[in-house]
Amino acid sequence: MNLMEQLERLCLLPGVSGYEKSVRDEICNQLDGHCEYQIDKLGNVLVHKKGVQTPKNKIYISAHMDEVGFIITNIEENGLLRFQSVGGFDPRVLLGRLVEVGEQQVRGIIGAKAIHMLSKSEEEKPVEIDHLMIDIGTDSKEETLKVVRPGERASFVSTFQQLGENRLLCKAFDDRVGCAILLDMCLSELPYDCIIAFNVGEEVGLVGGTTAAYQAQADIGIAVDCTAVSDIGGSSPEYYVGVQGDGPVVSFKDGGAVYDQELFHLALDTGKQAGIPCQSKRACTGANEAKAMQIARGGMRIMAISIPGRYIHSACSVVHKEDVVNTRLLLEKLLPALAQVEKYPS
């Protein structure tokens, strides 16, 4: 399977934080027969990937398997489901979407009363999650409980589409794009050993990322995530954060951490030397698993290499195919560069 096929397969699976089973099963199915891996107590998949050589210091790279989604909090007497978000959502991207709920993947509509019944002032306000419900077509609590229980997750129903010549449109690029890239690395020959992790619960507080980083006992940590950019209509360049098509986004600081300065420049220089487009992140927004890596045990020197994503945390996120490919290439080129790096900044 090539990288794009991996991406499509992974994005369409349901895997809301805390119930990443489908994604984990798919990844492990593919790793079987190729790599040694273990599944830890929280459900992270840790791969001790053998490369051609062993680096001076241990390198750890992670992506997260979970996507933002919903959790069912209550079943009403009328059969409708009440829910809350798992991970951060703008409520304006929820109403009217079709979701798949629970182990049985029952389809339901995120609904509220029709717009015709609102006053002018109500029309302007987003419908908050507390006022939304999921309708699976039942009329009683009893009927609903046959197929869905409180605590189950719901994720968007989505297709995987090409958008223009170069872009892709689907749910969950954050962070199945990271998973697809790291899975491709696991299934390829790499120049150096590294630990590759597919983690759980990033969106709800770096849960898996924290425990995986602890187990990795590494010196250098790289988070491969999907970062929110807004190089879109109605925005202006000072707010873009990153530009799709300009390659992987390398962070110097974000909402979670100050990154290792030497490694930040190393990433950009490595890209330049190898002819791989890459860009530095233009704002200090967002956070990812590198925050947890930095403070694991005695600390790691951290990097974030991100794929720029539009409209993330919605049913319709968009990535640029070349950015995906170039991130994969950059990571491979980084391994030999990092192999020579010391345990401390210089």
Binding site: K113, M117, G137
Partner: protein
């Protein structure tokens, strides 16, 4: 044809107000067993089921074919599109919505731009439809070459059979009405009728009812029955403003509707054991009934609505039994009108 299948197929048709004529061939495939088809100047599709006799009763059955959507207003210098609504698009859900842009060389996907929670600041308000941008992933040159102002945009949606008897999809307002009328004609097919009967799948209901208005003028009926959709109750709405899903067609009462026909429909429903509900309106009905009733020197008009949840979203919801019961009510009423059941 199976009602659920019809609903799923009709939900998948793409026609914003003004583009209904593009569906003429497809609709002909469904309607040609029932009569001669023609297209009105505004794009309404007309099927003459039984030719009206001179001075005889002539019934116009109407459901609207158009769905709410968007229309391209500008192709931006940056490759992003500006749009506006064609019909009452819901601003509460427009952000990050997946769309189909229907260009001269085919339909391409697009997404309504939205700023993710990580980057947004300040108070969140729903955007105005004419302030949003649409991302088709095209360069400015590609966008200018492929897309023109005036191109139609519909919402991407997943037509699906949910649990029980429920069907979800876009445009069930009023494609479910169209389906109910097809089923009614199916049941009337072999009936000898003494009255004229013309079916109109009307254009442009969502932007002012111009299709129904002009079709009514052209056909000059004596009576009309309009099938549209109305609000199916959800807990956040007032019960008295809604009907219940599965409780049957909502028989309309309103000043401009014909009072005797409203009661006649209720009597028929009771006699035939068809579940029904009432919908009482105080002024306009907000449907094609308004335009048809005031055509020429007036038409005796009735309105029956199918209860529908999540109106004007990409995943509306109807109950299959409500659609079938609406069809039964319509066909039984037509038969009674033919037998001189007209008391109005």
């Amino acid at each position: 044809m199976d009602t659920a299948q019809l609903l799923l197929e009709f939900s998948s048709l793409q026609a914003i107000p003004g583009r209904e004529f593009e569906l003429f061939q497809t609709i002909s495939n469904y309607l040609s067993p029932y009569g001669e088809l023609s297209l009105s100047p505004l794009g309404s599709i007309i099927c003459q089921f039984r030719k009206p006799k001179e001075n005889g009763v002539h019934i116009l059955l109407d459901a609207h074919l158009d769905e709410i959507g968007l229309i391209v207003t500008q192709v931006g210098e940056d490759g992003f599109l500006k749009v506006d609504s064609c019909g009452g698009v819901d601003p509460r859900l427009i952000m990050a919505s997946a769309l189909w842009i229907h260009t001269k060389s085919g339909s391409i996907p697009g997404v309504v731009c939205s700023i993710p929670p990580h980057l947004s600041k300040g108070e969140r308000k729903n955007p105005k439809i004419n302030e949003i941008y649409v991302d088709c992933g095209l360069t400015p040159e590609q966008a200018k070459e492929q897309i023109r102002p005036g191109d139609a945009i519909t919402f991407q949606s997943t037509p699906a059979h949910l649990l029980g008897n429920r069907i979800t999809g876009k445009a069930l307002d009023d494609r479910s009405g169209c389906v109910a009328l097809i089923k009614a004609l199916e049941w009337l097919k072999e009936e000898p009728l003494d009255c004229g009967l013309t079916l109109v799948f009307s254009a442009m209901e969502e932007v002012g009812g111009q299709g129904a208005q002009t079709a009514a003028w052209q056909l000059n009926p004596t009576h009309s029955l309009v099938i549209d959709t109305s609000f199916g109750h959800t807990p956040d709405a007032k019960s008295h403003e809604c009907g219940s899903m599965g409780a049957g067609p909502m028989i309309g009462h309103a000043p401009l509707l014909n009072y005797q026909i409203s009661r006649q429909l209720e009597d028929i429903a009771q006699q035939e054991n068809i579940p029904y509900q009432s919908e009482v309106m105080t002024r306009r009905t907000g449907t094609n009934a308004d335009e048809i009733a005031m055509s020429r020197d007036g038409v005796k008009t009735a309105l029956v609505s199918i209860p529908l949840r999540y109106m004007h979203t990409p995943q509306e919801l109807v109950d299959i039994e409500d659609v079938e019961n609406t069809a039964r009510l319509v066909s039984t009423w037509v038969k009674s009108m033919s037998k001189g059941g007209e008391t109005a």
